[in-house]
């Protein structure tokens, strides 16, 4: 009955070509994990950076898990979207990273990608916006079918995550 506290924030994103960005995030765990408190998923506000390249969200993440096994360690999956001047949202990148497994604070950089699509789609995207999106969000972190994808790199999402572990030593897990 080990417990994991994930406390941190999604700091922001850099390297995206789009300007007004927001981020949908979620945390995925295996079957052995049980969320005691907190929200599994959320969405940040839209940030339009005035100065510099980085879009800051400083979105808090506060989760408390209980687990009966190590399998399915929580992983964060992120979708960065950009909102254009018409209020339309288009995908800027998918990304995922595991929640670190050692206690302490961690600075994570999560690179992102987005499906490229055919040249026609690319063309349409360049002019009209939009573009291909994943049908199922779980492809972001499961990776079973990703080999078919052509992707383009997006920017990087920066996260600062603090981790508290409890009772793992009781079950022979050193951390």
């Amino acid at each position: 009955m080990a417990e994991v506290h994930v406390i941190g924030q999604i700091l922001g994103a850099t390297g995206f070509s789009e300007s007004s960005l927001f981020c949908k995030w979620g945390i995925h765990t295996g079957a052995a994990w049980k969320l005691l408190s907190g929200v599994r998923e959320g969405q940040t506000q839209v940030d339009t950076p005035q100065i510099g390249d980085m879009a800051y969200w400083s979105h808090p993440i506060d989760l408390h898990f209980a687990t009966k096994g190590l399998q399915g360690w929580p992983r964060l999956h992120l979708q960065v979207w950009s909102q254009d001047s018409f209020g339309r949202c288009q995908l800027a990148g998918y990304g995922f990273c595991h929640v670190p497994s050692s206690p302490g604070t961690h600075q994570l950089d999560c690179p992102t990608w987005r499906p490229l699509g055919s040249w026609r789609e690319q063309l349409a995207r360049a002019f009209v916006g939009g573009g291909p999106q994943l049908l199922h969000a779980d492809t972001i972190y499961s990776g079973a079918d990703r080999y078919r994808l052509h992707t383009a790199a997006g920017g990087t999402v920066h996260l600062a995550i603090g981790l508290l572990l409890r009772h793992f030593d009781r079950y022979g897990v050193e951390c």
């Binding site: 009955m1 052995a32 049980k34 408190s37 907190g38 408390h64 009966k68 096994g69 399915g72 009781r170």
Partner: protein
Amino acid sequence: MTTIPLRIGLKVCAFHSFEMSEAAYSSTEEIMDRHLFKDAEENRNITETLRGKVREKLKNAKISQGDKSSSQLLAETKSHQWSKTEVLLDEGLSFFILSGEEDSAVSRSAQQKSVSDSYFKPSAFGGSLQTAAEGQDEDFVEEVILMDLFEVKAAEYEDDQEQMKRQEAIVFVPSSSPVANQRKLPKGMMPRILEDEGFYIKKKPATYKKIRNKMENRLLSLQEASGKCWFEESGEIMSLPSPIRQSWNFRISMSKESLNPALKTIHRKFSHHPLFNQEQVLCARLLQLCESFQDRQKQGLSQLLYEKLKALTETTKLARNKPEISQFTRESLEDYYWQISDTKRLYHEEREKDHSLLHRVLQTWKQMKSLRQKQGFTSTPVKLQFHKIKMNTWDEQNQAGMLSGEENEETPFQNEDTWVGLPYIASDLEGMDMERIKPMTLVPQLSFTAELTNVSKCSLSEQKRRAKIQKLKYFIKIFYNDKQVSCTSVSPLQFDFKVMFQQIFNVQLLYWPETICLEVYEISKRTSLLVKLYLPLPNKTELKDKTDLEYTEFSSDKLARPMDGGVGSNVPFNLEGSENEKVCLLTSGKLSYSLSWALDENGIPLTPVSQSFRSAYCSVLRNVDARGVPGLPWPMNSQKLCDWADDIRIDPNDPEYSDITELIMYLRHKGQEIPKYFRLEQLQDEFNFVSEEEMKRSKRFQLLQLRNAGQLDLFLLQQMPLYDKEIPDIVFQEYESQAQKDMSISDVNSITAQRINSVNFLRKVRSLIMKRIIKVSKFNLSDIVADYEEIVSTSQLTDVICKFIEPRRKLKPQRKERRKVTAQTVSDGDIKILDTVHPFIEVSFQHTVYQTNTASGSHPCWNEEIKVDFISPGHDYGFSTLSKIKDNIHINVFDEVVIEKHEDHCLKSCSTHAYIQKNWLGSISFPFSALLQQSEISGTFQVNIPPILLGYTWSNTYVPPREDCSGQNPKECTFLNIFATIEPQISYITFNPKLDEFSDQIDVLQRAQIFTRNCKAMFPNRRVVTTVFNGEGMQVFVTRFIKALNPPQQLLDIFLHDSNATLDLIARFVSLIPFTTETLDENDGFDIWMTSECCISLAIGNKEEHAILLCNFFLYFGKKALVLLGTSVLEGHVAYVLTQETGESLLWNPSTGQCYKQFDPFCPLQSVDCLFNDRNVWFNIQQNNTPMAVHFDYSKESFWKQLLPKDFQWTKAQSVQPEEIVYCDTNKGMVEDLKSRMERALKCKMMEWRPKHPTRWNRQCTSVLRQILPKLEFYTGSFASFEDSELERLLQFYWVTGFPIQMPYTDVQSVIDAVYQTGVHSSEFPQTEFALAVYIHPYPNNILSVWVYLASLARYQWNRSRIRQAKRLRTVGTGKAYLEGRGPGEQQPLAWWRGQLAADIHQALRYKELKLPSYKGQSPQLSLRRYFADLIAIVSNRFTLCPSARHLAVYLLDLFMDRYDISIQQLHLVALSCLLLASKFEEKEDSVPKLEQLNSLGCMTNMNLVLTKQNLLHMELLLLETFQWNLCLPTAAHFIEYYLSEAVHETDLHDGWPMVCLEKTKLYMAKYADYFLEVSLQDYAFLNYAPSLVAAACVASSRIILRLSPTWPTRLHRLTAYSWDFLVQCIERLLVAHDNDVKEANKQRGQSASQSAQLGVFQTAQPSRPVHFQQPQYLHQTSMQYRHPVSEQPSRQQLVATTHPSSYTLQTCPTGFQTGVQGLGHMQTGVGMSLAIPVEVKPCLSVSYNRSYQINEHFPCITPCFERPPIVSSHPCCIPPPTRKNKASKQASNQKQEQKERKERKKERKEEKERKKEKERPFKTKQNHTRKSKSSASLPFLPLHHLFIHPDGIGAFAHL
């Protein structure tokens, strides 16, 4: 490829010598196809690929088979039917899998076959094909190729044949070909295969077939005779079972399946079904015939007869041939002949039957065949073969007459014909060749091998029929004792019209089953009962191991129309082939099942004992049953079972596992191997640290999750404990109890249950709708961003733009000063209640109570500020949390009443001696939410005053300030000025999120919304509601709620002609519907209103619903009624109903039912915001919106803004209200039940609230109140009329305060709370009695009006201590007094024991005596006590004071002495003051001794005491201070009179005889009681007893002395409430004292006797004394008859005679002369009498006071302390001043006395022993005794009387 199969065919024949009976050409294919068909469902995909190949191979094989002569009928096929298809399937499957593989695999399968070769298995077939092919290939090569190579040389050729023959001669090479069974077995014997018969044959060791064949051949060829013994019956070589034991072959522990009868339904098969086509009908018939034929064969009757015949003929033949040898006589021979003929006849008959049966079989078969040909398809797999068995010699060539199918079928028949035609006559017996008689039997052999025509090839109707069959499904319900216990799964009908269930059901039984019934249900389109079958109960011996199935046939006469080729059932139809035959068949079939008893773990059958048997062993059985395990483990988890079976590889043929194998087979068949779920992480479980359960158990996690879900109020903001152990379980208990609250409605009245239910229901509905609404109303930006402001108009925009031009805002804005408000002030009460009341106010909120000072007068003004602290749940003081507070603030008006603890003689200053009682006068309550909403409440409010306030009246003098204030009687209103606010002020946020439109009439709704928005913009604080949500969550226009609705008819009938009264009644009815506890929600804009019908039927509603309901009712009467929305001062948001009469507007408050005029200043309505009716909504746009200022003419647009303009065209939507409301009557019984429950609950609660005081219920008052209550419901006028005479009578004795409370019924708790609020229970006055009556008036639809009448009663005390408050009853205005207080002299306290209140007074006294100050007996001057007690006695006698005064005086003295040390001189003063106080307290004023009188007393001079007024008064004051002015101290004297009233009764026996004169006895009783009282007064030891006990003991002692029996009758017990045991100790003491007196008297008498020289008599009198000493022992005896030993009486009598004069000679008083004379007179009479008791009595009278002062000869004069003063008064100066010397001498005398007592006690003991001995004397003596006693009792009391009269003087003597 082509050549190989050829040989295969050949080899096949060689190997297996089997033959297809018909259609040999296609037989194998048929078989295969059949299997394929069956397999098709499951493994079509597997077969599909292999099929082609196999078919190819097989076809080739068939070609070869075509030209092969059929020779052998396989016996194995017989078993075909038996072996289930499953087996075949598996085998078939394995074959297909194997067929593509190598030889080794094939051979293995072949081995398998050979091992268990009883089945006809295609795999074996195929396998053998393969092996055959292989083996033959080599031969072929050898034959062909070698020959070609070596043909060149011909010379040395030796014929193979010859060579072989030569070799055979030398070498024996056993052939490896299999041996036919016939050779192995004895002739004519069929191979018997035990396994087929159900025996379990253990596995044999595996051997190669070839080797075995060789072995067999060798054995057979070696020695024909001995060889055969090596073979078993089955034709196999004998062999031991396989020695290899599989170690894992352990048994499943069957303990868990041990349940009572296991019903295993295997399958059911239809013999007729409506969906049978004609072929199937025929088939069924064929089957039936064959079956019967087989049955007959099994019986073997013909065979038996044949054998008999054979034996008979042989013997007769023998006899005839050798008549000389034969022992048979002629007769016997004849007999034989006769027998032969008879047997023959029988045999013939049997055969005839057989033949006819065969004939019919054949005929049917023919019909069937023709039908098959005709319709062009076959739908049954049936095939008939005839097997001819010749029973005579078995020759090789003609091995078995296999007449198969079409070719041969005619032949046997013809044969038969010729056969049958043979005449069998007895006469040509001899000529008969036995061979000929021997029947050549034809056995019809059914096989199910015919190929079913594929669906596609069938006709349309057949296709339809088959489709229908597929649709049909069946299931069986199992009934045990007519109760359904279980139900099978639904199984489809198979094509062979079988339904397989294959399920085992376990029924746990407690009793012997009566019936077990199966109901077969058919599911086609709908489920219908097909047939009901009763199963025979299984024998007790039929246990679980039983494997064989039983059959029951069933048929149902259900009519089924023939359709789609089906023949239907119960419908006649023509059968093909026999045109004239009309058949009508019923649906019928067989159900095979097995019903058996289970075994428990010990293998004991769990058969329940039958009924009669049961009763005896019931308990034993219960134990057995108790550990019965419910349910089998393995049917539950079939997967596990399969796994397990796979693991341990159980032997499928082992009968032990038969059930399991069957089940597994079935499960596999059904294909349940596929798991039901899909798991991503299969290995998760292996890696887990902990199990799921452990996770769930973790309290911390639970708590965390609950907190996250927001379901924990308690831990919401607290830190969570880190460890589980730190978490108390209570947390969950609270949560669970909260969760359970919805569920648990137990032990409540059904009406209450309904209430609870409806509240829950409403809450659920509301939350449901809320959810919907919340979901609909999207999250707005304005919800998050605080300063967000939507730009509505351009003006706003310009403002914003203008802002740029404007000067910038200051960086430091000035804060606005908020108006300071005081917390909560109650001020300037305009209370107009009563004149002399002392009202005060109590404010209670959240169970804390705050109280103002007590004001006085009916116009009190408190002007006080009360700060009420309160705690918000969760310590959150945000608006949202605060708005959830449902508590009400109660402001109660009380009157303070002071009740004196005792007398009102007591000075007024001693207020501490009073009880304060508060009487509830009225209350105002308002919800906290109202305060929250309005932030302050201020104004004058009418106090809710109960309709009757007992003990209070309305003052007439008070003139209300306004005459026209309201329609009500202005005099009966009380008003209270209140100002209340919350500090710090909490802002009330209101926001109405924009809603998405979704509802019926969107245009109207849009309009409504715009209207609302505009209204809000104009007057943001005014309420406007245009749309609400209805019960379905739809947004509805409010006007749709208004519709004329009928009120309950019952209400209309009450005031038929008084319309106003009816309206009032209806308003009242509406007000009685309980209210939902409303909370202020942030989303106040979403109102959910139920329809009026809902409101009525649920009996709950909110304010608006009430208003709508009332409005609808008013509309029904044709009134102009509108619903008014506004705010009320006290209630916050309210909805009123406005009715407009001519010229005036009336405002109805639906929550109270009250009606206000528009200009009623006390109307709580504060603002009028909005009106609506069924047509329109009006918003008040007048500047002043107080009701008084508002113009209610809503047609004026300048005042009222309309939602819908006049010319607005819209289709008026239908009302949401129903056409009519149907009311149901309230169940009277329920109401009664509720009433009694409520009363009980309230009484219990009252007692709970008074933990320190006893709560007494006055029954009389309660009954009066009960009578009053029902009248109150329909009151019209004043209540004064209700105070009926009974209550008046009650008021004479009690000071009654009371009031009725009326409220609608929601639940009992609310009633209890209301009662609690009134504070009736808080009365501290100990003697308060309570009365409580509940009345519930039922209105229709369970709407109840609850009346609770509460009253507290205080009894006016008997001893003139009055409740001062009684005076207050005189109201100022009328001057009418309910009760005139009794003046001090008005009523005599004397003789209270005769009055009606005697019992009560006694009780009061008893109560008081419990509170007497404790007496410790610690005074150093205890020795002087006796002297002062006597002094008091003397003085009180002198002034003829009553005994109670005397006792009180002594008691006061005792108490005083106990506390203070006083000089002896002072003690005299104290004693006299005590006497004075006591006399003042107890006596009439004129009998209180005057100072001069006291001073003039002779004894005073003796004491050198001069009393001064000042001294006395000081002393009195001192005393009073000491006693805290409480002189009401009961003494024994207070009780004695009461007890004496019952002390003697006619029924009492004196000495076992009825009393002669009751009056006299009473008199004596009184005297004796007085005597004992005085005795008790003299000794301080009696202070340890309660006065009442002493009094009771006095009575008891008197009775003992008077020899009244029973000594302590029950009536006295009841009266005094003391049982005998309590009294004994005290009585003993009294009697001892008495005895001492007697002794004293004796001594005196002795002295006198010595003077008169009568010593002898004295001595004789001695024995009498022990009697008294013995009394204590007597007391303990159960028989209370006090019987003196009669033998001593004469002597005593003498004693009497002697003592009397002597005692009186001692007296020096002048009356001595008279008494002497009397004594003489008495003596004269007394001598004649035979009573002895006076002896004891008389001395005590004189001695009692003589004893202490015996030295002083003057003292005897103290004796006349009894009543008559003359004795003392005549010797006023005879009391000598007590000196020390006196006392000392007295003490000395006391010591002497004690010594004497001791001595005498010793004597007593001796005498006691003697008496005991006496008692043991024979009966006779006793009789003498009794007789004597009778004679002595003839005139019992006379001497006694005389004796007593003595001191009293002549007056008493006159009685004689």
